[in-house]
Subunit: 175 residues, 2 copies
Amino acid sequence: MAYDLFSRRGVRDVGVNELIERSGVAKATFYRHFPSKDSLVLAFLEQRDQLWTVEAIVSQARLRGTTPTEQLLAIFDVFGDWFLRDDFEACSFINVLLEMGPAHPLGKASIDYLAKIRGHVQALAEEAGLQRTEEFSRSWHILMKGSIVSATEGDTGAAKRAQQMAGWLIEHHRS
Amino acid sequence: MAYDLFSRRGVRDVGVNELIERSGVAKATFYRHFPSKDSLVLAFLEQRDQLWTVEAIVSQARLRGTTPTEQLLAIFDVFGDWFLRDDFEACSFINVLLEMGPAHPLGKASIDYLAKIRGHVQALAEEAGLQRTEEFSRSWHILMKGSIVSATEGDTGAAKRAQQMAGWLIEHHRS
DNA sequence: CTCAGGGGAGACAGACCAGTCTTACTCGCT
DNA sequence: AGCGAGTAAGACTGGTCTGTCTCCCCTGAG
C-alpha cells in the first residue's frame, strides 16, 4: 500500500492524507503506529531492502547463475528484465538520497541501504575468489546505479551495456 | 542567484517566495518575466547546461588533454576534483529527472540535456576515431552518472574507479 | 508640470502539507 | 450489563506552496 505509492511516486510526492485515505485507516491510528511520516519512510526503506534488494535482485541473480561469477553477471540480466517493466520505478534509495540530500536522516538511511547492496556484491565477489573485493564492489555499484539512471532516461539497453563493462571488471579482479 | 539555490538545494526545495526575497525583486515582476516557476526552472536547466556541462566539464576536459582520448579520460579527472569540492551538488539534470519523473515536462527537459552530454562524449569519441560511438557514449554516460551518485554517497574515489572502467571501454571501441 | 507605466512591497486566494485533537462507535472482557 | 480500549471520520492548527491582485512610489517622456 504505502510501499507501492512510495516506490512509484517518491516519498515526497505522497502525503500522509493520501496514505490514510487509501488504506482506510484513521489519522490518529496512523500516528499511533508511526510517530512521524519520516518513520514510516524509514519502515518503507527497510521493506524495500527486503523486497527489492534481497528478494527481487540478489536472490533472483543467485538463482539464474550456477557459479558466483555467473551470479554476479546475472544481476544485470535481472536489471534488463526490470528495466522493461512498465511499472519500473528506479531505485528508491537513490531517489530518496537525491531528494532529501545526504545530510538528512532519510538520506543517511538510504546511503546505509546502498552500502548493504554493495555488501551483497562483495559477498558474491568473495565467493568468486576475486581480489580486492571492496574496491570491486564499489566499481560494480557504479555500473548498477549508472544503468538505473540510464533506464530512467529511457535507455532499455543500459543493462546489457553495464553487463559488458562488468565483465571486464571481473576479469581485472581475477589476478 | 536562482542558479545557486536550485543547483545546491534542488528545484523542489526552493520556492518562489524565497527566490524573489533573495533577489530583491517583486513577485509581480517575477511573474511578468516567467509565466510560472517551471519556466524559471527550464531557464535554470538551460543555464546549467552552459555553465556546468559545457564550461565546467567539457571545456575543462578538452583543456586537460592533448589527444581526444586523453580528453575523454580527463572528464573523470575533472569529476575527481569536482567530487572533492565542499559545494558539490551532484548533477541537476539527474536530480530533476528523478524528482519530477520522466513524464513531467521538467523531467523530459532533463533527459534532453543529458542527451546533449552524450553528444559531447560522442563528438570526442569520433575525434578519437573510435568505433560505434553512439553505443560508446551510452556506456560512457553510465560511468559518469554512476560515479556522480557514488560521490553523493560520499565515495570520493568514485571518479578514479569510473576512469579505470572508461579506459577499458575505450580499448574495446578502438577496433 | 503632468501623466502613464514599471517595479517594490506585500496582502490575499486556494490548495496543499504534517501533525493534533474531538466525537462517535464498536468490540471484547469482566 | 457495564466499562475501557481501540478505531474511523474528520475538524482543526499552523505552516507551506504557487500564483494573483492591490497599493504606492518613482521615473522618464511630452
